[in-house]
């Protein structure tokens, strides 16, 4: 209905314009021509629009497998572990605060807190061992190669900053892992190493007290506490932003749980990898 009204309006406008130009009224045949013209134009527009929608839908629905089930499970265990460690670690670090006091007095006792913290630590260590084992597999070796920092990452970073500032009009093209993802991975590796080593010294403080000078224990304690805060702040800024708050993925990037990524985001976020996959597919089809 709206369309036919629109059509009529357009016909009417065109008619008036032509009449003004020619300085006479149009005859019936001419009016018929005008109507056909308008209809054809509208139909063409409609078809183009439908095509575009279909293409977008197709891109959106066409998924690439980004992470294997193994990787998704690793992330899940890691996430649970880190959340447990965070909610039980923060109240110890900020034991003076009113909320820590509230937690320890009304929600769980310090003794329970210590047990949960150790459960979280066990999950973290478990996933660390798992991850190291996985890195030895063929899949793991390939992923590790992709994760290694390269000079390109530095150029990508500079190019991206230029883009953000409006000094260049194009985003750099990322491969399978962008510099920000690589950064997060290696930050996690470093953080886990510090936390696990120092944490074990605190956990088994009886052994530490027996074989190592007390100041080593104190250093471990301080490193544990400092690194923990750094890691938590990185999680609630860097990770939150890239995985949740970023307008591209808001409210949540599900890729790490489903393993899938849409063609659209693949093209936008990992164009080089996309191109390579396409090349490989074409290569596989040719012979």
């Amino acid at each position: 209905m709206a369309d036919s009204a629109n059509e009529e309006r357009l016909v009417h406008e065109l008619q008036r314009e032509l009449e003004r130009e020619l300085d006479r009224s149009l005859d019936d045949a001419e009016l018929q021509r005008v109507k056909e013209l308008v209809r054809a134009q509208l139909e063409a527009e409609l078809r183009a629009k439908q095509r575009r929608i279909a293409r977008e839908k197709e891109q959106a629905e066409e998924y690439f497998v980004r992470f294997s089930l193994n990787v998704c499970l690793q992330h899940l265990v890691l996430a649970i572990g880190v959340i447990l460690l965070t909610i039980t670690g923060l109240p110890i670090k900020f034991h003076d605060s009113a909320w820590a006091e509230f937690i320890f007095r009304h929600i769980w006792s310090l003794e329970v807190n210590r047990i949960i913290h150790r459960v979280g630590a066990s999950l973290l260590m478990f996933v660390t061992v798992w991850h190291i084992g996985w890195l030895m597999t063929r899949e793991g070796r390939r992923e590790l190669r992709e994760l290694l920092p390269r000079v390109k990452d530095l150029w990508d970073f500079i190019a991206n900053v230029k883009f953000m500032l409006g000094l260049s009009s194009e985003r750099p093209k990322f491969g399978r892992y962008s510099y920000s993802e690589k950064f997060e991975y290696w930050a996690l590796v470093w953080g886990t190493a510090v936390m696990v080593l120092s944490g074990l010294m605190l956990w088994f403080h009886r052994i530490t007290l027996a074989y190592l000078p007390k100041y080593i224990f104190d250093v471990a304690l301080q490193a544990h506490s400092g690194e923990a805060l750094l890691a938590i702040l990185a999680l609630i800024t860097w990770h939150m932003y890239h995985a949740h708050l970023n307008p591209e993925v808001f409210p949540m990037n599900m890729t790490i749980f489903t393993g899938k990524i849409s063609k659209k985001r693949m093209i936008e976020e990992h164009p080089l990898e996309y191109e390579q996959i396409m090349r490989e597919r074409a290569g596989a089809e040719r012979p």
Binding site: A210, K214, G226, L233
Partner: protein, 354 residues
């Protein structure tokens, strides 16, 4: 209701001497002149056993109650000489909250009744102290009076008259030594135990309940002025509260260490004293009470450190490293995110405009 209640023979002294300092106009004179003012005035409590009823008026006149009449306290004495034995009276008849005679009370003297001593006394323990054992009866002096048994310098001796072993131990401690050198800001028995509301340490009201020990020591050891005067480091309490032992104690893990688990209590000694439990060579044993594997390694490193304090040595540098790393990284993250959002916003705007 035994013989004890029978009045002893009243011995009237004939030698009213000129040494008596009260005049006939003193309203108390009637009590003293004939009876209680003479030094051998006594009654027989059991055959052959006498109890002195003498009141040293010189002392009385210098006591805090000097303006009171005998009958202000001994209220049931209406006629002098009285015919019956006056009722047993007690300090608390005036020193209670809300009294009208103007007797000073912190709420503490009333708490005496619930204290270890008060309970033992009520049970009839013959050795347990009542007010009079610490304050005397008729020569009560204010705690600020150097002649008072409850003057700071005299308190250990007063308590020590019953707790003799503890008194000798205490005298050897830094606190006892300092007190002997007339340093009155050192700790005496009542600083740790309190004088009236004195409870066993497993009672949460006690100043020495594991959760309260740190605050009890903190009264002095967190006081910068006192500790600077004595040249003793002052951050121990703060450091203890930040340590895992302190956190654990605060949140009900009472088996954790409090100040006295490591320092001892009556014989607290400096770490430089070889007898001290915190003397480096003794430390393995001290920690060993609770950490069975502790070795001499526990003495390698400083104690009571506050990471943000340069005195913490290497720990301070770790602290500083992480502090700056955290500030720089977090600021960087936030800056990057803002930049990224700005880039996207600009891009989106340009995109929609053409």
């Amino acid at each position: 209701m035994r013989q004890l209640l029978a009045l002893g023979m009243v011995l009237i002294s004939l030698g009213l001497g000129s040494e008596l300092s009260y005049g006939q106009r003193d309203p108390n004179a009637r009590c003293l002149l004939e009876c209680h003012g003479t030094s051998d005035f006594k009654r027989e409590v059991a055959p052959g056993q006498f109890k002195s009823l003498y009141v040293d008026y010189e002392q009385f006149k210098t006591s805090v109650h000097k303006d009171k009449l005998c009958i202000d306290c001994h209220t049931d004495v209406t006629a002098i000489p009285h015919q019956r034995r006056p009722e047993q009276i007690h300090c608390l008849q005036c020193h209670y909250q809300g009294n009208v005679v103007g007797a000073p009370v912190s709420e503490r003297p009333e708490k005496y009744k619930e204290s270890v001593h008060g309970k033992a006394f009520a049970r009839g323990d013959p050795n347990a102290p009542d007010c009079k054992h610490c304050h005397t009866v008729h020569s009560v002096r204010a705690p600020t009076d150097p002649l008072s048994p409850v003057y700071r310098a005299n308190i250990p001796k007063t308590c020590g008259s019953c707790h003799i072993e503890i008194y000798t131990e205490y005298l050897e401690s830094v606190h006892g030594q300092a007190l002997r050198n007339n340093i009155l800001e050192s700790a005496v028995c009542s600083d740790c135990h309190r004088e009236h509301d004195l409870f066993p340490p497993d009672d949460p009201r006690s100043s020495l309940h594991p959760q309260n020990v740190a605050n009890t020591c903190a009264r002095c050891h967190a006081d910068v002025k006192i500790m600077e005067r004595r040249g003793v480091p002052v951050k121990q309490v703060e450091a203890f509260k930040k340590s895992f032992h302190g956190i654990a104690i605060e949140f009900e893990v009472l088996k954790s260490a409090n100040c006295v688990s490591c320092h001892g209590y009556h014989k607290i000694l400096s770490s430089r004293d070889p007898r001290s439990p915190i003397y480096p060579l003794n430390l393995a044993n001290t920690c060993g009470q609770c950490h069975p594997n502790a070795s001499e390694n526990v003495a390698r490193g400083r104690f009571h450190i506050i990471p943000s304090d340069p005195g913490a040595g290497i720990v301070f540098w770790v602290y500083e490293f992480y502090r700056w790393l955290t500030i720089v990284m977090t600021a960087g993250f936030i800056f990057y995110i803002v930049l990224d959002l700005y880039g996207r916003w600009r891009h989106a705007r340009r995109g929609s405009h053409g």
